[in-house]
């Protein structure tokens, strides 16, 4: 298995290295390669990959690196004929979170970008539909998957907690406090 994988991976790595000097190999697992791309190279790399066989966009994810002040967008494309997955990791600024949309390359990105906008607040330039809300209705707080959103504090603020008056028999302790 690994031999044939090397036959597939080696030309890919060589081509990417030749065409896109700014793209860096971040991690090479058995069937998954992660590249680090700059925002200005994203479209070219994706176009190259799509034409070379990576026709399916599995998902776009976002990771909030709050201490570094960055968001990391991860584009996940898969080639069914060769069985190799390529992850493209792109770091953008957290304060002014915006990136170019890729819906012109992969139609399916439309709703992934919309979801990331709703949960992280990233604006995708060129994808106006992504600004509409999707899962959350009448949301009144910061985008919830950000690290500075405390879900427990939100729940305490919004919802009433139930307190029990337990009746667990004569062995039970006299006083009982639920934290």
């Amino acid at each position: 298995m690994t031999n044939s994988m090397n036959n597939v991976k080696a030309p890919l790595l060589a081509q990417i290295g030749a065409l896109f000097p700014e793209v860096r190999l971040k991690k090479d697992r058995d069937r998954e390669i992660t590249f680090e791309v700059q925002p200005r190279d994203l479209h070219q790399v994706l176009t190259y990959l799509k034409n070379a066989g990576w026709r399916q966009l599995s998902m776009i994810s976002c990771v909030d690196w709050i201490e570094d002040g960055q968001f990391e967008l991860v584009y996940n494309v898969f080639d069914w004929t060769q069985g190799l997955r390529v992850l493209l990791s792109m770091k953008i600024d957290r304060g002014e979170a915006q990136a170019m949309t890729i819906i012109n390359l992969f139609d399916g990105a439309m709703y992934y970008e919309r979801e990331i906008h709703e949960f992280f607040g990233v604006v995708f330039l060129g994808n106006e539909d992504a600004l509409k809300s999707l899962f959350l209705e009448r949301w009144d707080d910061i985008p919830p998957l950000r690290k500075d959103f405390d879900s427990r504090a939100y729940s305490d603020k919004k919802y009433v907690k139930r307190f029990y008056d337990p009746v667990y028999g004569p062995q039970g302790g006299a006083s009982f406090e639920r934290s």
């Binding site: 029990y164 008056d165 337990p166 009746v167 667990y168 028999g169 062995q171 039970g172 302790g173 006299a174 009982f176 639920r178 934290s179």
Partner: protein, 610 residues
């Protein structure tokens, strides 16, 4: 898949009218409920006599459904908390992680799964109430060794092989590496059962966590909050904490002592300065004298000095340290680690007065005049004597002077003690083993081979010494004569030829008091030309005058004090350590801390009334 419509196909369906239906009828569901499979995860059962209230189930519950509740009917005793888990079945998701992490194996899940109620408060249960209906007494899911979420095996401490170890006094245990220490620290579940048992109530789960995070500064600060001699304790503490460790219920207890040693060994010198000099106040509150430079005395000096008192520490021997310096052999308590602890006292400004025996060089009354308070911690420096026929022969030697001479020799401050080629050691405790294994090493150095015979009243299974001593001693070549009582010494041409012994049938009577019973017909003569006696230590109250003894109370040689360490009848005098509570180093350290607080309260109260 196009099948031509068959005229008869609707008729074929009629065959199902004659088949038994697969669904259950309503009566069957309610009157004869289905019994779950053997592995079913239903409502919990907790055997509350086995449960120790450690709270691991409460920690791991992903839905926070388990809350530990204090129970008034349970006595607080060592090794458990008087708390038991209660489960909120409104939140429980029946994942059985609590069963898999239970330290004693008391938590199980039953096969019951039916419970209907209109009162939501009854969903909160303490699981020993068994759900009588639908199989509440039948065990369903239990944990097995492969599903256990605890790590039951201790990280192995690298140690010197016995063959090499007996040739020298090199330290036997080499200490954990960082990976081993972190792996060992990750085994702790933070139940805090050990904290109650430790005489000094050290912050054990917190410093174990500091080891896991690699934060030596935090670990050091936590250690010194309750124990200013972590290097000594990390080597030779009696580790009562490990005896009650919750993981020890079914596996090997956390190596708490060795993790303490890890922090001491790996905190750099500069960190000691930074972390420990900061909380020391400038002197000015008063002057206190401490008698005895052992563990209790050093502990009291440290805490009094940090509180702001000027402290003078008096020690009869040339060096501070007490038993750690002059008793325990180098292979268990290396000099360097002890010095790390002792030097800190000097750095923070405790006045050292060595070679000054209180009672001989300076009287207790003189101390009473010069100081505001005095703390007595003179320890047990003398040996208990044994009445034996010919027991006054010069080759009958005692443990305490021998061990002190051995340490002096290894420090380069004395001659090698003269050990014979064949030696007998009488005694079964840790001190006897210290003597025997030290002699063994001297014999290897002098003669190239060893012959030490250990004679004890107790049989091997009830020897009071630590298990590791017994095993290591055996590997090094000790010969055991367990269950024999010494009767007399056999002389030949003025020199010792051997020890007469008779079989000891029992050591303690029904009331657990010392009353050995011998069978005089079973005799044994053990060969040897020197006899070392290591049957116990005694105090040396040389400083007490008859006036003192009128006021202070001594019971069986032990000084009677209140819980602060204050001696009744002489409020300026405090006492602690071995002379109050018997030989146990960590207890002495705790006594020193407690007495420091007591002295502070006493002197504050005096200054308020004056």
């Amino acid at each position: 898949m196009d099948k031509k419509k068959n005229l008869f196909s609707p008729i074929k369906a009629w065959k199902y009218a004659f088949k038994k239906p697969v669904s259950f009828s309503m009566e069957d569901i309610i009157d004869r409920p289905r019994e779950s499979e053997n592995n079913a995860r239903g409502f919990h059962i907790n055997d509350h006599t086995k449960c120790i209230g450690c709270g691991a189930c409460s920690e791991i519950c992903p839905t926070e459904a388990i809350v530990m509740v204090k129970r008034a009917d349970l006595e607080p005793k060592d090794g458990e908390h008087p708390e038991r888990p209660t489960i909120d079945y409104g939140r429980c998701c029946f994942c059985a992680l609590c069963v898999d992490i239970c330290t004693t194996g008391s938590m199980k899940m039953s096969k019951a799964y039916v419970f209907n109620t209109t009162n939501p408060d009854t969903l909160y249960k303490m699981p020993e109430e068994i759900f009588a209906a639908s199989g509440g007494t039948i065990t369903g899911y239990e944990k097995t060794p492969e599903s256990d979420l605890l790590d039951l095996v201790r990280a192995e401490m690298p140690s010197e092989a016995s063959e090499k170890a007996k040739e020298s006094f090199i330290e036997l245990l080499k200490g954990y590496s960082m990976a081993q220490a972190k792996a060992e620290a990750a085994r702790c579940i933070g139940c805090e059962i050990c904290v109650k048992t430790c005489p000094a109530n050290m912050h054990i789960p917190e410093y174990i966590d500091a080891v896991g995070q690699g934060d030596m500064a935090e670990g050091l600060a936590l250690l010194y909050k309750t124990n200013p001699l972590p290097g000594v304790c990390g080597s030779i503490c009696t580790h009562k904490c490990e005896t009650v460790c919750a993981i020890g219920q079914r596996g090997e207890p956390i190596a708490i002592r060795w993790l303490k040693r890890y922090i001491v060994d790996n905190a750099p010198e500069s960190m000691y300065e930074e972390v420990l000099m900061a909380p020391v106040s400038a002197p000015g509150k008063g002057r206190v004298a401490v008698v005895g430079g052992g563990a209790a005395g050093m502990s009291a000096s440290y805490y009094l000095r940090t509180m702001g008192y000027a402290v003078d520490l008096y020690e009869a021997k040339p060096l501070m340290g007490g038993v750690a310096r002059y008793g325990v052999p180098q292979y268990r308590m290396p000099e360097e680690r002890l010095n790390k602890d002792v030097d800190l006292l000097k750095k923070i400004g405790v006045g050292f007065h060595v070679n000054t025996k209180v009672g001989k060089d300076i009287t207790l009354d003189a101390l009473h005049e010069q100081y505001d308070a005095v703390f007595l911690a003179s320890g047990l420096p003398q040996s208990r004597s044994l009445k034996l026929e010919n027991g006054d022969h010069p080759d009958v030697l005692y443990a305490m002077p021998f061990l002190a001479a051995a340490r002096d020799y290894l420090r380069g401050q004395g001659e090698m003690p003269d050990v014979a080629a064949k030696v007998i050691v009488i005694g079964g405790g840790n001190v006897a083993f210290d003597v025997a294994r030290t002699i063994l090493r001297f014999q290897q150095e002098k003669y190239g081979h060893n012959q030490v015979s250990l004679v004890s009243l107790e049989t091997k299974d009830i020897l009071p010494a630590d298990k590791e001593e017994i095993e290591e001693g055996e590997a090094e070549g000790l010969r055991y004569f367990c269950g024999f009582g010494p009767q007399g010494i056999e002389l030949s041409e003025g020199k010792i030829a051997g020890l007469h012994t008779v079989k000891c049938l029992s050591v303690f009577d029904e009331n657990r008091s010392f009353c050995p019973v011998f069978d005089k017909d079973q005799k044994d003569l053990i060969e040897g030309s020197q006899v070392y006696v290591a049957i116990g230590q005694m105090n040396d109250h040389a400083y007490f005058t008859p006036e003192h003894l009128d006021k202070a109370v001594l019971k069986g040689g032990k000084v009677q004090t209140d819980s602060w360490g204050q001696v009744q009848g002489m409020p300026w005098l405090f006492a602690g350590g071995d002379i109050v509570h018997g030989p146990d180093m960590i207890h002495g350290i705790a006594d020193g801390h407690q007495a420091a607080r007591g002295i502070d309260l006493y002197l504050q109260s005096l200054s308020q009334t004056s």
